[in-house]
């Protein structure tokens, strides 16, 4: 295998990994904040992809430009899911963990069913993107623009997220809430409000990922499953609750997947990820990175 070919595999693995990190970030953020695993995370992604698709069809605006709008809509959706479902699931006295699992799992089934009913199980794709057919060609390496765009959005998002978490009063309040949700009332913070904002932020992050993926991936009701499994592996690998661990783990997953596809038949490309996951779980059950 030539150096250029290796570089090609590395570059596309890296870009895919950045997107995986973005897909997983919201899941990790919500888990870190309140120790709830959102089993509807894949469906959040699916919803964002359909939202992007729908907006492109109705407005004709380029999907790349619609990403912030989709993220904003998903923010509202995420906060609403907290207020209407999760808040009540957290209030139960017994078997709270189970109730939360089934609440989010039920939500995922509901969302998938609703999507099939409303949009049919057909595969759709966006054909009108400016990014669509373009490819960046540098030094023998070809990178499709949609993939590159996804990687760049991911980097920008994590950069912005870092600033919000470390420099703003909201970020500090979010961190305090994840540390001790019972103590924030002592400084006047409403932990219910922080949870709703956290769900909003988590959904907005996966919303950005959905907008980016909709440019080059098929949009269909079951699309969440293909990414959520990778997201769970990424979150476990990065350390449950660690948002920036999810970025690093996403990159690892993307690279491992790309190089596995070189060695094994492409349909077995996921094998490397799960093998890596098993190794990590045995050697470092807490994931590669601690919290945050």
């Amino acid at each position: 295998m030539t150096a250029t070919a290796l570089l090609q595999v590395f570059a596309s693995g890296l870009m895919t990994g950045l997107i995986y990190g973005l897909v997983a970030s919201g899941l990790s953020l919500i888990f870190g904040l309140m120790e709830v695993v959102n089993f509807a995370h894949g469906e959040f992604l699916m919803l964002a992809m359909f939202a992007t698709f729908g907006l492109v069809v109705f407005t004709g605006i380029d999907p790349g430009l619609l990403a912030p709008l989709v993220a904003a809509a998903m923010f509202v959706f995420g906060a609403a899911v907290y207020a209407l479902v999760i808040r009540f699931a957290m209030r139960v006295e017994t078997n709270r963990g189970m109730v939360q699992i089934f609440a989010t799992f039920g939500l995922s089934i509901l969302m998938q069913g609703a999507a099939q009913y409303l949009f049919s199980p057909d595969y759709r794709s966006i054909r009108t993107s400016w990014l669509g057919e373009r490819t960046l060609h540098v030094g023998g390496v070809f990178l499709p623009w949609p993939l590159l765009f996804g990687g760049l959005v991911s980097i920008a998002t994590f950069g912005g997220l870092y600033l919000v978490m470390t420099r703003t009063a909201f970020g500090k309040a979010l961190e305090a809430t994840r540390e001790d949700q019972g103590a924030v009332a002592l400084v006047g913070i409403d932990c219910n409000r922080m949870f709703a904002l956290g769900w909003g932020l988590g959904a907005a992050l996966v919303g950005l990922a959905g907008a980016v993926l909709a440019v080059f991936y098929y949009v269909f009701p079951g699309v969440g499953a293909s990414f959520s499994l990778i997201a769970y592996v990424t979150v476990a690998l990065g350390g449950f609750g660690s948002v920036f661990g999810a970025l690093a783990a996403g990159i690892v997953v993307g690279l491992v997947e790309a190089f596995t596809a070189v060695v094994l038949p492409p349909e077995l490309k996921s094998l490397g990820i799960y093998a890596l996951y098993l190794v990590i779980v045995f050697l470092r059950p807490a994931g590669l990175f601690g919290k945050f």
Binding site: A176, E179, G182, V187, I189
Partner: protein
Amino acid sequence: MLLEVGTLTTAYQGLVAISDISLSIEKGEIVVVAGANGAGKSTLLKSIAGLAHPRAGTIAFEGARIEGIAGHRITALGIAYVPENRRLFPRLSVADNLSLGSYLFRKRADRDAPLENVFALFPRLRERLRQRAGTLSGGEQQMLAIGRALMTRPKLLMLDEPSQGIMPRLVDEIFAAVQAIRATGVTVLLVEQRLAESLEIADRAYVLQTGRVILSGTAAAVREDPNIREAYLGI
């Protein structure tokens, strides 16, 4: 009257922790609530702070009823509560813990003025600003917890056993700080097991036993009560 508690009853999981407690605090006072373990002192503070929900009775702060209001709203009204286990954010820095205390304030002056006040009270917090709260000594954590509470600019500061788990040398410092805090116009409700020391700085005291007030009066009167002398002061 700054705070007026009327025949308050609070139960935890069906067990009555305090019953029919009445208590009042004037603006500018230091009031001590004393009593053995399990007498209901902490439950009383939690009920006022909005972290435990009273079954019956009233709590009025500055003339307005506040029982049953959520904890974060009580803080915003001007009641700061430092619980027994302090509940700092251990992985966050001292600076972050303090700035979280002023979360409710957006104006720079509202955040900076209390901070200077806290540093004047506990100079060693200034030296530890970058350190994680969880790595501080017990005494320093207590100072930080009180400092964080003062950052909310309270009218009433409620301290639950501030001397617990602290080196004796620092206990004096904490008691001196409580007096200094009162001197800045903040009213203090102090729950303490160290009755002798707290009666020295307090104006009035309430003594609780199994969830009820068994004695109340000025600090001097409580100090002279024969039962108290025998049971708590060991004289």
